[in-house]
């Protein structure tokens, strides 16, 4: 350690000049008051609401205002678009599971076809007495059967003879 100090003795003496580099006279007289006033300002700013900060930044920079307006318009469009869209396929529209799902019109099927598909599905599945569209369980036989088109078939049987 002692040798180390001796080796660098001249360097350490030279480095002592650094201790004498000082800021301008009076620099430290108001240093603490500058720090404290900055802390006070920052604390005050923190207490102001975030909304005021947004409004302030919008006023300061017009580009922010334009950006904000664009966001509002885009949001408005996003909300309005499912209401404006006309061709909603009935069986692919708002579903029970996801009411916010936006219906997409299909390219091939028209709305009438879609309705037909719906009614046929009801025929197949809903056959309760309260459903007027449902087919009856037991269809009565027709009183006016077409016997000509459906002739009775008689099969004549003969005993087989073996020579």
């Amino acid at each position: 350690m002692h040798n180390e100090q001796q080796d660098f003795e001249r360097l350490i003496k030279l480095l002592s000049i650094k201790k004498f580099e000082k800021p301008a006279d009076g620099y430290f007289d108001n240093f603490s008051s500058r720090v404290i006033s900055k802390i006070e300002n920052e604390t005050q700013q923190d207490q102001e609401s975030w909304l005021i900060n947004i409004i302030r930044s919008i006023i300061k920079r017009p580009s922010y205002a334009a950006g904000f307006a664009l966001i509002v318009i885009a949001l408005a469009f996003a909300i309005m678009s499912p209401i404006k869209g006309g061709d909603i396929q009935p069986n692919k529209g708002f579903t029970q599971n996801n009411p916010w799902e936006i219906a997409q019109p299909t390219k091939s099927a028209s709305s009438i076809n879609g309705f037909n598909q719906l009614s046929s599905k009801i025929d197949e599945t809903h056959n309760s007495s309260t459903n007027p569209v449902a087919p009856p369980d037991n269809k009565p036989d027709s009183l006016f059967k077409d016997t000509q088109n459906n002739p009775k078939i008689f099969i004549l049987t003969k005993p087989v003879s073996y020579p």
């Binding site: 180390e4 100090q5 080796d7 660098f8 001249r10 360097l11 350490i12 003496k13 030279l14 480095l15 002592s16 000049i17 650094k18 201790k19 004498f20 580099e21 000082k22 800021p23 301008a24 430290f28 240093f31 603490s32 008051s33 500058r34 720090v35 404290i36 900055k38 802390i39 006070e40 920052e42």
Partner: protein
């Protein structure tokens, strides 16, 4: 300007060390009171803490950056950040060590983020330095220092320091300029004192090479 962080060297040489220690302890106790008041939002107490440590914090930042404008900003930011974080100060180390650590980290981050490097903007050297025994002895030794004026020496010294890596510059400044002990530096830099010693040795070697024309 005082350098109350006493070095091991100073401890050995200073006969009044016994008188200084109670003063330091009293100051530390005072610090704790002021810190507690500051933690409750008392800005007057914090103002007192700023006054106590402003010069030392300023010096470490200035000696690391060699730029007075950057130092002004960073020193203020250090105290502002310390106030914001003061509630998290648990007293595991002294307030000074904790504050110093903030200053050092802030300075190192600033240096790293400035890829283009920092231009020197030096404070003027106190005229009394010419009577300082260390410099007087250097000049009397018939060195090239006799022919160079003080501002030139200051500039060459700062250029050489800026050529060191941050970790080496930091250690040599803390020890040889600020007069801190190896252990104090180790606490602040969160490493062991062996690392501090080896960094100091390497930094001095580098400086000696860089300043060889002044130290012949």
């Amino acid at each position: 300007m005082g350098h109350p962080a006493s070095t091991e060297k100073n401890k050995q040489n200073d006969p009044q060390q016994g008188d200084k220690k109670p003063l330091q302890e009293r100051r530390a106790a005072d610090d704790i009171t002021l810190v507690k008041r500051s933690q409750n939002g008392d800005l007057e107490a914090y103002d007192e803490l700023v006054r106590r440590y402003q010069e030392r914090i300023y010096n470490i930042i200035y000696n690391m950056t060699a730029n007075r404008d950057i130092t002004d900003d960073l020193a203020q930011e250090t105290f502002i950040k310390a106030f914001r974080a003061i509630k998290s100060f648990k007293g595991d180390s002294s307030f000074y060590t904790w504050l110093y650590r903030i200053a050092v980290n802030k300075t190192l981050n600033h240096i790293k983020n400035r890829k283009e490097g920092i231009a020197m903007s030096l404070n003027s050297v106190d005229i009394n330095v010419e009577n300082h025994p260390d410099l007087v002895s250097l000049i009397n030794d018939k060195t090239p220092l006799r022919e160079i004026n003080l501002n030139e020496i200051q500039e060459k010294l700062n250029i050489a320091l800026l050529k060191l890596s941050e970790k080496h510059r930091l250690v040599v400044i803390m020890h040889d300029v600020e007069g801190m002990s190896h252990d104090e530096i180790a606490k602040i830099l969160d490493c062991n004192s062996g690392t501090v010693r080896s960094r100091l040795f390497y930094a001095r070697q580098q400086l000696q090479q860089l300043l060889s024309d002044l130290l012949k």
